[in-house]
């Protein structure tokens, strides 16, 4: 029988690391906290390396696209060009240099904000068409909830918020009772799933790292 030493080693390392980090929350007894800090610091370093690996992979993919001569190869060229420019500028001026600030304030922010503003028109049009395409009880309930929530979220015709009854009663009922209860249920589910996943990794039943 052939043993997978590499996989076994990875499993042992993962279980020991997770156990030390978990114990660090409950047993602040040396050397567990220091070991936990060392593991977490190493994790930060590895995450930074992974970010660099991602950047290198991104560059290689777009270089391949350029070499293949596809129609969108000019976009790949633009991406690589500005990535190199940003890298050089950041290396020279630092992450908060003037040139970097210029590109960020006058290129990235307007573009991303405009895309987000487009969402306003799309959502307004979609909710109008919703009842035309699918007139069901849940669709009507959804539209009514949105309508009352918006009605209690801001000034209507210059009236001071909150609008009487709606702002004081209906809107808090929707956002602070119904929405919060639903969100709490989601959070509990997420917490249970996280605990289950962590335990599976700690006992070696789940090995996302291989082995």
């Amino acid at each position: 029988m052939r043993l997978n030493l590499r996989g076994s080693f990875a499993t042992i390392v993962a279980i020991l690391t997770g156990a030390v980090v978990l114990l660090g929350y409950f047993l602040p007894i040396d050397p567990i906290p220091s070991l936990r800090t060392s593991f977490l610091t190493a994790g930060i370093f590895l995450a930074a390396v992974a970010l660099w690996m991602g950047i290198i992979n991104l560059v290689s993919v777009h270089i391949d696209k350029m070499q293949e001569g596809r129609i969108n190869s000019i976009n790949s060229g633009a991406l690589i060009l500005f990535l190199v420019i940003s890298l050089v500028i950041t290396l020279i001026q630092g992450p908060t240099g003037e040139v970097s600030q210029f590109f960020f304030n006058y290129v990235q922010i307007p573009i991303e904000t405009s895309i987000m503003a487009m969402l306003t028109f799309s959502l307004a049009y979609a909710i109008v068409r919703l009842l035309q395409r699918r007139l069901t009880a849940f669709s009507a309930l959804f539209v009514i909830s949105v309508w009352f929530t918006l009605l209690g979220s801001g000034p209507i015709f210059g009236l001071q918020v909150p609008v009487p009854i709606i702002g004081n009663l209906i809107k808090p009922l929707l956002t602070e009772v119904l929405a919060v209860s639903g969100a709490r249920g989601i959070l509990i589910g997420v917490g249970l799933g996280t605990v289950a996943t962590g335990l599976r990794i700690l006992i070696g039943a789940d090995r996302p790292f291989g082995g």
């Binding site: 980090v21 660090g24 929350y25 906290p33 936990r36 800090t37 060392s38 977490l40 610091t41 994790g43 930060i44 590895l46 995450a47 930074a48 970010l51 992450p95 908060t96 970097s100 600030q101 960020f104 304030n105 990235q108 922010i109 991303e112 904000t113 895309i115 987000m116 306003t120 028109f121 307004a124 049009y125 909710i127 109008v128 068409r129 919703l130 009842l131 035309q132 007139l135 539209v143 309508w147 918006l150 009605l151 979220s153 801001g154 000034p155 209507i156 015709f157 210059g158 001071q160 918020v161 909150p162 956002t175 602070e176 929405a179 919060v180 639903g182 969100a183 709490r184 989601i186 959070l187």
Partner: protein, 658 residues
Amino acid sequence: MSNPPNPNEELPDWLNNLNSGDDGEDATPQDDSSKETLQSGLPHWLQGNEEEEAQAEPEPQEEAIPDWIKNTAPTNVAEDQPDAPPEEDEDAPEWLDNIRQAETEAKGEQEPDGEGGDPDWLNQIRDRQQMEAPPASEGGGEGRADYIERIREREEEEKQEKRQVIQEPEEDPGWVTGLRDKQEEETGSGIGELESPTPALIGDVDEGLERAAAEVDAEFPDLPGEPAQAGVLPPWLDDLRSETPQIAEIEPSGEEKAAEAQPAPSEEAIDDPNLEEADLPSWLQAMRPQAGETPALVDETPEEKLTIGPLAGLRSVLPAEPEIVQFGKPPSITVQLQSDERQERTANLFARLIETESRPKVKNDPIAPLRQGFLRWIITGLLLFALALPVLGRANDTALPNIAPSAQMSYDLVYNLLPGENILVAVDYQPGLAGEMDAAAGAVIDFLIIKGAKLTFISTDPNGPLQIERFLRLTQIDEHTYVQEKEYLNLGYLAGGTTALAALASDPRSAISGTTELDDESINVWEHPNLADISLLSDFSMVVVITDDNNTARAWIEQAGPMVSGTDLNMVLSAQAEPLIRPYYERIPRQVNGLVAGLQGGAFYERSTGRDGLARNYWDTFGAGLTITIFIILFGSAYSVVSHVLRRNRGLEEEARR
């Protein structure tokens, strides 16, 4: 070298029947020569009946032969077309062609030039037979006795010729020589090696014949002929013994031996005109060939040439069993589902569904795209008009909100700070939501600066460092003249997400490293005045998290929250992230001590601090946009409901009309 006789004439009738299939000669009754040859081998007392039956009913025999037998029966090439080479079956193997060719060559050597290709001696015999043949009108015992006498004389002559052949065994006929040479070439051994067992075979045949004759005599004592004596064979058996050297390689079966062993009537008995015809027993009459039958061909059925299958054209092969192997077109099998009415209805429905899916949709309403486009432009125009009015009017007269409990808690936390306390601010929002987040967090940061807090910024987003600088320049620089590296510290991007937050919470000095400029000197960030007294995250007086993502906010709450006991966690969230984070705020004890959500939270904060900021500038436009959106949804939904109902009613009417 004398002309050898036809081998078929020298063989007994049962061997002639076997050889007729092998030699490819046609043994059908219409061939007179072959028929006579067959009759010559029969006992004399049977030949008379054969003659009468053949003369009486010659035609039905020919008609009784099925066509498939005619097709499969070999043609007598040597007799019909003596000069032409025998037809070679294209499907026959090469070795069979070689043997046939050798036989043909051997026959060619034997056959002198003459009419019909037959040897002279055979032609002479035929001539004699034709001359000696009784006239068709002649019948009765007297004429038949003369005819039998002539046959006997002819047989005597033939016996003399055969004896000459036996006395000269070294002179093999040409066809035997050809076969021997051919086999010697192929196997290296000659036929001569097979001649050694011949005497033994002859002895066996003699013994068998004697036993058969004795049995026949014992069962039919009244049968005319010579008495069977031990060791003394009748002349016709001598004739057969003289023929055995030619057929030594073929040993007849027991039944055939018995049939041959029947004693032939003596010459005196045959010549006696007063002799009565013997009463044949029933079993012998049953064996007698009936009119129209071709017993020789029936026995040859297993050796017929296959006409179908991969072995077509070959002889002496086992035919494929028709139950197992069927050649030709298989029978057509009708595929018909056995289903009930419900299954058929479901299948038809499914078939129509598939057909509908593959069919391109026909737009019944050609103006529908125009109507949808018109609706989009109406919504866009209304929104732009509503948003443009406050911007163009610069009124800013809409009252700010005065009630926001969670934001009030955040304001109280900041309000209770002492001057010079260290505050950690996490800026973790995307540039796309900068409009909302800047307005929501501006008042909080402004109030912190007003309170004289030492701000240290950090981000878990790669855009964080630039976002921090932009945010401070946009919201605070003009008011408070906070300068980087002096009044506030930007630690930049902290890679690692949740793991980095856990590391930062447990040991900030290990998680964060780097240098910064202070008074034109490069120093370690932990030597900066804002961090000089910080070794744990709980050493900060307050942690403010500004984020638009509920997952990021949750990570800060879950990872850093347990490590900042005694330190307030104040959050500024977008309106979309508030519902998922509010449970942490409403929990007792609170995991989130203060919560400012969206533009409304920022407006309340500005109202609380009495300082107009971004929230104030956005508030009127926000209100106008919100109002027009509410009306669009209201009237648009009403229009959609009416349209849907009208379309459904129209569809129902059309369906009822159909």
